[in-house]
Symmetry: C2
Subunit: 301 residues, 2 copies
C-alpha cells in the first residue's frame, strides 16, 4: 500500500509516546520490596521495556483532541498497558497458549515461574483499576468511574477474557468469518477501542465525537488483528519477537486462513480506510490517529 | 470459650445474608451464552453455591450502621465475593497450592480445566471492579471511586496477591511471627477489612467511625485466619470441605505451628475481644458485628 505522507510524522510521535508511557509505568509500577519482591519484579518484567505502546499512544492522542491534561493521560495510558501486559502474561501460560517467548525475551512464566506469572498478571490487572480510580487520573470522579466501568467491560467476560475463552473453544473447530470476527472484536479490538474512547471520556466529548472515536477504534482494532494474523502467517520469529506460524501449527483459523492472505490484506486496508473516515469531524489534530490506522496494517512486526 | 448470647441471633442473620448475597450474585454474574459459555459456567461454579459469605455479611452489616441502601450493599457484597472467589480459584491452581477440592466439591480447574479456571478467575476479578463502578453500587461517583481504589489496594500487590506471593516465598523457610502476621494481614485480613470499611465509605461515615470499622476488620481478619489455621491443624477434611493438615504437609509455618495451638487460640480470642472493643462507639445496631467476631473464632469449619 502507498505510504501516507503523515507516516513520517507518526514514527517519531510513536517513539515519543512509547518513552513517555514507559516513564509513567516505571513510576507507577510498585518497586520490589519485602519477601514478596519477586512479584513486583515479575510485574515490572512483564509491563516494562517492550512493545510499541500503541494502546498508550491511542490514549494520549485521543485525549489530545480535547485538550486533556497530559499527566492524567499518562496514568490512564499506563493503566491500559498494565491491562494489556497482564493479558499477555496469562495468555502465554502453559495451560493457555504455552508461549515461551514474548517481545524477543522469555515470557514471564519462563523468566520466573508459573505461580509468579499468574500472580503478576493478577496484580497488573488489579493495578489497572487502582490507577484509574485515583484522583490523579482525572479530577472528576464521574469520569474516573466511567473509565473503570468501561475498562471492566472491555477486558472481562464480555471482552478480552471472553475472547480468549472463545479462542480456546474454537481450537480444532471450524468457526466461520462471523465467529472469528466476533472473537477478534472481543479479544483485541475491545481494549483498543477503549483506549480511543478513554480520551473522549476524559475530555467530556460530545456523544458524536465520542462515538466517532469508538468506531475508529473498532475498525482499527480489527485491522490491527488481521495485520497480526498476516504477520503470523508470513512473518518470521525474528521480526515478531515471538514464535511465528503458531496459528497454523495449532490449526487455529484466522481471517487469513479463511479468506486467504490477499483478501485478508484487502479487508485490513478497507477497515483502515473506514477507521480514518470516522475521524472526518476532527481537524488536523487527528492526523496522527489517521496515520496510526495506516501504521496498523503496514507494520512489519 | 463461653457462648455469647448474641450468637443465637447471629446464625439466622448469617444465613439470611448468605441467601441475600447468593441471590445478588446469581443476578449479577453473567449467564452462559455463546461459544464462550464455558467461561460463564466456570465463573458461576466458582462464585455461587458455597461458603459462609462472611465477607458479604460484613459489607451488609457495616453498611446498615449508616442506613445505606440495601440494593447498593448487595452489589458491593457481590463484588467482594467475586474477588474472594477469584482468589480461591487461582490459589487452588496446580502451579499454586494445587488443591483438588474446595467447599466440598472439585475446585474449578478440576471441574473444568486449568485454562478455563485461570480465565474465570480473571473475569471474576474484573467483574468486581465493574460492579463497584456502576451507578447501581452508589449514587455518588466519589464514593464509587473510593470503593474501587480501596478494593484495588487491598486485593493487589500490596494486599491479597502480595500475601499469596509471600506465602510461596516462605515455603520451606522459617518466617517468624512478624513475617507470618504481615502475610496474613495482606492475604486474608486486608479484604475482610475492606468489607467493613466499604460500609463506612458508602455511608459517608465520620473518620472516627470509619477508622473503628477498619481496626475492627483488621483484628477480625487476623483472628479469622488463626482460627482457619487451627482448623487446618486439628480439623478433618469432611468438616472443612477441603483437604486438612495441608499446612503441616507442606511444611508451611503458621501462627499455630510457631506459637502452638493453645497460645494461638488465646491470641485469636484476644484479637476477637479487641475487635469487639473497637465497636464501642456504636450502639446495639453493631451487635451482629460483635457476634461475628465471636463466630470467627468459634466456628468449626
Amino acid at each position: 500500500m502507498a505510504r501516507d505522507p503523515s507516516m513520517s510524522l507518526l514514527e517519531p510521535a510513536l517513539a515519543e509516546a512509547a518513552s513517555f508511557v514507559e516513564g509513567a509505568l516505571d513510576t507507577l509500577l510498585p518497586k520490589p520490596a519485602g519477601p514478596e519482591s519477586r512479584l513486583m519484579e515479575a510485574m515490572r518484567y512483564a509491563a516494562l521495556g517492550g512493545g510499541k505502546r500503541l494502546r498508550g499512544f491511542l490514549v494520549l492522542q485521543a485525549g489530545r483532541l480535547f485538550g486533556v491534561d497530559r499527566r492524567g493521560l499518562a496514568r490512564v495510558a499506563a493503566a491500559v498497558e498494565c491491562m494489556h501486559a497482564y493479558s499477555l502474561v496469562h495468555d502465554d501460560l502453559p495451560a493457555m497458549d504455552d508461549d515461551d517467548t514474548r517481545r524477543g525475551k522469555p515470557s514471564t512464566h519462563k523468566a520466573f515461574d508459573e505461580a509468579t506469572a499468574i500472580l503478576a498478571g493478577d496484580a497488573l490487572l488489579t493495578l489497572s483499576f487502582g490507577l484509574l480510580a485515583s484522583p490523579e487520573a482525572h479530577g472528576d470522579p464521574f469520569v474516573r468511574c466511567e473509565l473503570v466501568a468501561r475498562l471492566a467491560h472491555v477486558s472481562g467476560h464480555a471482552g478480552m477474557v471472553g475472547g480468549q475463552m472463545m479462542d480456546i473453544a474454537f481450537e480444532g473447530g471450524a468457526p466461520g468469518l462471523p465467529e472469528i470476527t466476533r472473537l477478534q472484536r472481543m479479544k483485541t479490538a475491545a481494549l483498543i477501542t477503549f483506549c480511543c474512547e478513554a480520551g473522549a471520556i476524559m475530555g467530556k466529548a460530545s456523544a458524536t465525537m465520542r462515538n466517532a472515536l469508538v468506531t475508529y477504534g473498532q475498525d482499527l482494532g480489527l485491522a490491527f488483528q488481521i495485520a497480526d494474523d498476516l504477520l503470523d502467517a508470513e512473518g518470521n520469529a525474528d521480526e515478531m519477537g515471538k514464535a511465528a506460524r503458531k496459528d497454523d501449527a495449532r490449526g487455529k483459523r484466522t481471517v487469513v486462513s479463511v479468506m486467504g492472505a490477499e483478501r485478508a490484506r484487502a479487508q485490513a486496508s478497507a477497515l483502515s480506510q473506514q477507521a480514518i473516515r470516522h475521524l472526518d469531524l476532527f481537524d488536523e489534530k487527528a492526523d496522527l490517529l489517521r496515520a496510526a490506522a495506516g501504521f496498523a496494517i503496514a507494520r512489519r512486526a
